[in-house]
Symmetry: C2
Amino acid sequence: MNLPPISEAFVLHFGEMGSRWGINRTVGQIYAVLFVAERPLCADDLVERLGISRSNVSMGLKELQSWNLLRQRSVQGDRREFFTTPDDIYAIVRTLADERKKREIDPTLSVLRELLMQTPGTDEEKHAQARLREMHELIELLTSWYADVQKLETERLIQLLSLGSKVVKVLDLKDRLFTLRGSRAGAGRIANQNGKD
Amino acid sequence: MNLPPISEAFVLHFGEMGSRWGINRTVGQIYAVLFVAERPLCADDLVERLGISRSNVSMGLKELQSWNLLRQRSVQGDRREFFTTPDDIYAIVRTLADERKKREIDPTLSVLRELLMQTPGTDEEKHAQARLREMHELIELLTSWYADVQKLETERLIQLLSLGSKVVKVLDLKDRLFTLRGSRAGAGRIANQNGKD
DNA sequence: CTGTATTTTCAGGAAATTCTGAAAATTGGA
DNA sequence: TCCAATTTTCAGAATTTCCTGAAAATACAG
């Protein structure tokens, strides 16, 4: 592996992690190299840095592109294709989450929905369906939360994440204001700007 | 596969999904069977239902136990061990998240921290470190949010998830109250019950 | 067009993983 | 303690996934 030590350590770790997810080691390594690179790299650069075959690089890049994880750049006076990862790391995470949802969650939801439509033949099947229904509801809750949060601009998202569970305290505050509404006209007017309930 | 049709379809799908995560097909199938089962099952039950070898079941159960995903039950007058998944599906998700964090996120954070301590030899390494720093910060933000949320009781969690990004509107409300503080003593007092800032 | 640079495809070999049966270890009752 | 039931281990077979080199396809400059 032909990389400076810090990058190499990161690339090795990332490859290892990638293989714990569905992604294979090499694909993870390719991504890691692009992620830390100062400039867009072409396939040959990756061959050189990772010491793997040209065809392997080609397949890896194709895989990463199918995940929407790469940006393509052309370089003046060079016929080869160059690749980078998006600069904005929040955008990367959003893409990753979207793709995983599309590949894992959506098909699962559709299987669950289909199985919940069927008529159970036995008590055993009735029980199975009840379990599947619980799972379905939970996944729906999580994905609708996700869809909501995915809409926020990065700045808002950070604000929300930073707050963590302290949000709950803000909710308490909201509840309290509602309780007070009527007895204190001003608070009621403000609370209503929440635009909901 | 010796299962009623609804369960079988679910088990097959779950095994398939499992193999997209690091988990292997059989382990996913074992979990799925236990998840929909009406009663605790022993290893032989799983052999029968999935049509795989006894030793394979044994290894699969061991793997699931290492993920903390099973409950062990003993049955009166039977020497064999019986297994179930926890009834509470929220608890299951919490466990899963904890384990994935422990296996994937924590080691990554520690590698990143270590690499950020090192002195970069070149500009290339300086740039790599800057990228790793961004990644480190993002992961820290996400995990601290996660740690916070993990503390909530299920009920609160559901409340929070149901609200989705509408939370932001509540935050706006909070901000507005702070803006008003001073000019309107009452609102300020209430806002302070948020216990922060 | 033609020729060269570049990328992609893909068959088959290499490597990794999963699975099995046999044997060893463990468990709990008598 | 001994024995039979049960679980675990593990070497190697079976399967799956990954990787490569060679060949085909594509892109583009002249």
